[in-house]
């Protein structure tokens, strides 16, 4: 490793860039603590007495808790489902690859390159005809499918780091695939599974496109909540900011808590 000290100008430049990138979010957070008149004041106010009235207003008007609950159910539900499906799939791909396994993996990832709007109409029609529009179940299904390729890929790479010999030894010992998964893969790949789950939760929480297009008042998530909120209340900057803060705060908090695990999980293959 190169133990070079960062130069002072370099450090300053890095901080400036970081500040510019974080600024909009920071400004949103600051605005959330202003009153409406302070929020639109020009020149912008930097010194003011922070108040919670915008939060109160946002919470009172819009059923934040309802949307938040939907977000929790959808992100957790879709993540559990995705892991349950991806686990045996990745097992088969890692340890009993067929001739087309590699193609299949590439194809799965390629589906992530398709813009979601490209399949909006068919999915919308399917949802309409099956009664899944504006249901939490429908959103869970869509988010599961959306995250499945990434989860399979992550689990696949974690499984590939597990020596084949271990599973073959179990095979010789008469331990079948199901027990191998339960007693060997699950404990051995648990850091990887945790990372995949964390990522899936975050992606699902932040997912806006499907949530906005497939749900209304009943099954909307926080992403839909902000989108909907901004239209009629668009001019009320303080309230909108407060609502946005309320929407991103839980996942930000979650991300901070899970950060170390997530980074370790995402880099484990590269470091080895």
């Amino acid at each position: 490793m190169n133990e070079q000290r960062a130069s002072l100008p370099g450090t300053i430049a890095a901080w400036v860039v970081a500040f510019l990138m974080v600024f909009p979010i920071l400004w949103m957070a600051i605005t959330a603590f202003k009153t409406e008149s302070e929020a639109i004041a020009i020149p912008p106010l930097l010194l003011f007495r922070p108040v919670l009235s915008s939060f109160a207003a946002a919470l009172a008007q819009s059923g934040y808790l309802h949307f938040a609950l939907n977000s929790i159910i959808v992100s957790l539900g879709s993540t559990v489902l995705a892991i349950l499906i991806a686990f045996p799939a990745a097992y088969a791909m890692a340890f009993q690859p067929g001739r087309h396994t590699q193609d299949l993996l590439v194809w799965m990832l390629s589906t992530k390159m398709l813009p979601p709007v490209g399949v909006l109409v068919p999915i919308y029609l399917i949802f309409r005809d099956t009664g899944l529009l504006d249901t939490v179940e429908g959103l869970v299904i869509v988010d599961t499918l959306m995250n499945l390729p990434i989860v399979v890929w992550m689990l696949f790479s974690f499984f590939r780091d597990i020596p084949r010999d271990i599973l073959e030894a179990a095979h010789m010992d008469g331990v079948g695939p199901r027990k191998q998964m339960m007693h060997l893969l699950l404990p051995l790949a648990s850091p990887g599974i945790a990372s995949a789950a964390l990522l899936a939760i975050i992606l699902s929480w932040n997912e806006a496109f499907w949530s906005i297009n497939l749900t209304a008042a009943h099954a909307g998530t926080l992403a839909a909540y902000i989108a909907r909120y901004s239209a009629p209340e668009g001019l009320f900057w303080a309230k909108l900011s407060a609502a946005s803060v309320l929407a991103v705060a839980p996942i930000l908090l979650f991300g901070c808590l899970a950060q170390r695990r997530l980074v370790r999980g995402l880099t484990v293959g590269a470091v080895k």
């Binding site: 020596p163 073959e168 030894a169 010789m172 010992d173 331990v175 007693h183």
Partner: protein, 365 residues
């Protein structure tokens, strides 16, 4: 308990033939070693016997029953992997008892069998440790213990000692031989190290490019190698190969010409040699079957002298260009740069035809 029969067993990976029509019978309680250079198909053959790899062609019989389609755990064989393949998240006891636990054996029975295996392998103080807290040799023992606990009919070892240091390897070699005697089970042992093969095996199977080059006891292979490959592979330092021409093949005496003015005569073998006079042949002579003399059929200049204590290896640059290795305990006579003359042991050596197959052997057996 476990007799294995392979009939024309072959393995294809796509179009690549990794194992070619292997015929072999492993008797009950025999210790058979598969040996050969890296990539010759040892692991593939062993894995086919284990059931971890499908048999592409031919048949495998275990105790007389066709076993091609029998799943690995139903073959009654246990395998010890080169990498040990221990379960890293389980203790030593957990590793050894895992198979039984998964099979639903009662706790008391598992504990008893694990204890018994631990006693045999002197693992008792380590039963509660994790594999990562063990030395290489200890891990190796655990891997063997895991196999023993299942009371298999036969053991399959894939280069089990290659990750150990030299001293430990020699020690484990002896222990495995003792274990074989104690367990009275059939064992197949894969190695690329001919010394391991020679020291441990009842019978050795030499593989070359997926084919069986020769099957035999260590001494058979050493003294009567079936071809140049086996002759060169078994024995260290290597057997010397001398190009020669069969000048006269009489009923009583055969004469070889090593170089224009140097001939070598020996009694003709019982069925006369199946070669025409004048044919090119290769004479194989072990280093210990050469000795320094005043005037002999080989001459050269001493290139390197290696004193190993018990013996001395002398590398002689022969006048025809090749290097001949001489194994001797005579320290006094040779110096580097000296011109020497060599004689061959009168009744040791092998003669090979141009295809590399043995024509006949001068040997004690």
């Amino acid at each position: 308990m476990a007799k294995l029969e392979l009939r024309k067993v072959g393995k294809f990976y796509g179009g690549f033939e990794a194992v070619k029509s292997v015929d072999l019978t492993v008797e009950d309680r025999e210790f058979v070693v598969f040996v050969g250079p890296s990539g010759c198909g040892k692991t593939t053959l062993l894995r086919m016997i284990a059931g971890l790899e499908d048999i592409s062609s031919g048949e495998l019989f275990i105790d007389g029953a066709r076993a091609n389609a029998v799943p690995p755990d139903k073959r009654g064989l246990a395998m010890v992997f080169q990498s040990y393949a221990l379960y890293p998240h389980m203790t030593v006891a957990g590793n050894m008892g895992f198979a039984l636990k998964m099979a639903g054996a009662p706790k008391a029975e598992i504990a008893e069998k694990v204890q018994e295996a631990a006693r045999v392998l002197q693992l008792e103080p380590l039963l509660n440790r994790r594999p990562r807290m063990l030395s290489g040799g200890q891990r190796q023992r655990v891997a063997i213990g895991r196999a023993i606990v299942r009371s298999p009919k036969g053991f399959l070892f894939d280069e089990p000692l290659s990750n150990l240091d030299a001293a430990l390897r020699v020690q484990m070699r002896t222990e495995l031989v003792k274990l074989h005697q104690a367990l009275a089970a059939t064992m197949i042992y894969v190695t690329h190290d001919q010394v391991e093969a020679m020291t441990m095996a009842d019978r050795i199977v030499v593989l070359e490019g997926g084919r069986v080059a020769q099957v035999g006891t260590p001494l058979e292979l050493y003294h009567r190698p079936a071809n140049l490959f086996v002759a060169g592979f078994i024995g260290s330092p290597k057997m010397n190969f001398l190009s020669a021409r069969a000048v006269a093949i009489g009923p009583r005496e055969t004469t070889l010409e090593l170089a224009p003015d140097r001939v070598l005569a020996f009694p003709s073998p019982a069925p006369a040699l199946a070669i025409a006079p004048g044919a090119a042949v290769t004479l194989g002579v072990r280093p210990e079957h050469l000795r320094f003399v005043e005037s002999g059929p080989l001459r050269g200049v001493v290139d390197v002298v290696e004193h190993l204590g018990v013996e001395t290896l002398v590398y002689v640059k022969e006048s025809s260009g090749g290097t001949v290795i001489v194994r001797t305990d005579d320290l006094s006579r040779v110096r580097q740069g000296e011109t020497v003359s060599l004689a061959l042991h009168p009744d040791r050596g092998s003669l090979f035809d141009t295809a590399g197959d043995a024509l006949f052997h001068l040997s004690p057996t």
